[in-house]
Symmetry: C2
Amino acid sequence: MRAARERFAADGYERATIRAIAADAQIDPSMVMRYYGSKEGLFAAAAEFDLRLPDLASVSPAHLGEVLVRHFLARWEGDETLVALLRAASTNPGAADRMRGIFANQLTAAVATFGTDPALTARRAGLVASQVLGLAFTRYIVRLPPMVDTTPEELVRWVAPTLQRYLTGTPPS
Amino acid sequence: MRAARERFAADGYERATIRAIAADAQIDPSMVMRYYGSKEGLFAAAAEFDLRLPDLASVSPAHLGEVLVRHFLARWEGDETLVALLRAASTNPGAADRMRGIFANQLTAAVATFGTDPALTARRAGLVASQVLGLAFTRYIVRLPPMVDTTPEELVRWVAPTLQRYLTGTPPS
DNA sequence: GACCGTTGCCAACACCTGTTGGCAAACGCG
DNA sequence: CGCGTTTGCCAACAGGTGTTGGCAACGGTC
């Protein structure tokens, strides 16, 4: 399972072969099939993920953005599942589905916990996702040098105000 | 060529097969090889791209963010080359290289045209890239509903202030 | 008309993919 | 011990991949 996540994170869905994963885990490829049924099943099991978002209702409203960026960065650096999902979502419809589900459900739910116009929560969550995923995409996938070289803390300081505005800012005219 | 771009944009690098591209273009797969040498060569030719960034020096400094988002959105909607590149960059190292080059050179150069601390231009460009690519990723690749349903003009209004701050804002303490 | 480069098509190669079935060994339990 | 289940491995299948070479038809040039 760890081997699967590593391969999926490093190579994406199509390049990560069952044979390579099995070799990493020092088992036979057919074992993978017997346990997970198919490659899609394996990926589905490997991409199980919980954002573990904190309860935003108990966060000082002025620090929502900061808390969120810090949380996402920590989650990303500590668990390569999200990177695997991110890579795979670009080419695999099932992975894109799952990513959509994670952000639509977990993130939108979190955004909804603190009082905001219900008609806008989905859009606010979407905008937050766009910045957070863009951060991950440029830092972990494309590896743009300025994004890789910047420390997490510095990124937090730059990006936090963005999320703060997406979350609590007044809608533009 | 058009068929190649469409396939790469829709399927990503590994799923887009030479045979399928050739079938779309109603030619023989071996013709593709003779013209472009290899699949990588074909992709390199198909992914040739110019952001066509406007001259930022001649833009009112207060509207830099707005002009940039609008330009990027128009560029993205009108030419699927960028989507192809974005999809492919997640799994193909060569495509990631090219994407890095495009944003490192073209975008950083544009950011450098208006006076800003040279030590910060790369970081500013990186942050802009993170928001712009995140926007594209959530809208065109993962297709998060709130990002797909929002009109370009509304997106401009939400995102412009973000880019504006990344470009001209004072660095956070 | 003779020549040569291009265009087009077909078949095949070598390789890798996910997936399947069978068969031997090990294990748990009555 | 005996027996059913699990574990592990090997070989093979069927299909798809990028890539190659050859061979016929065409088109312009002298």
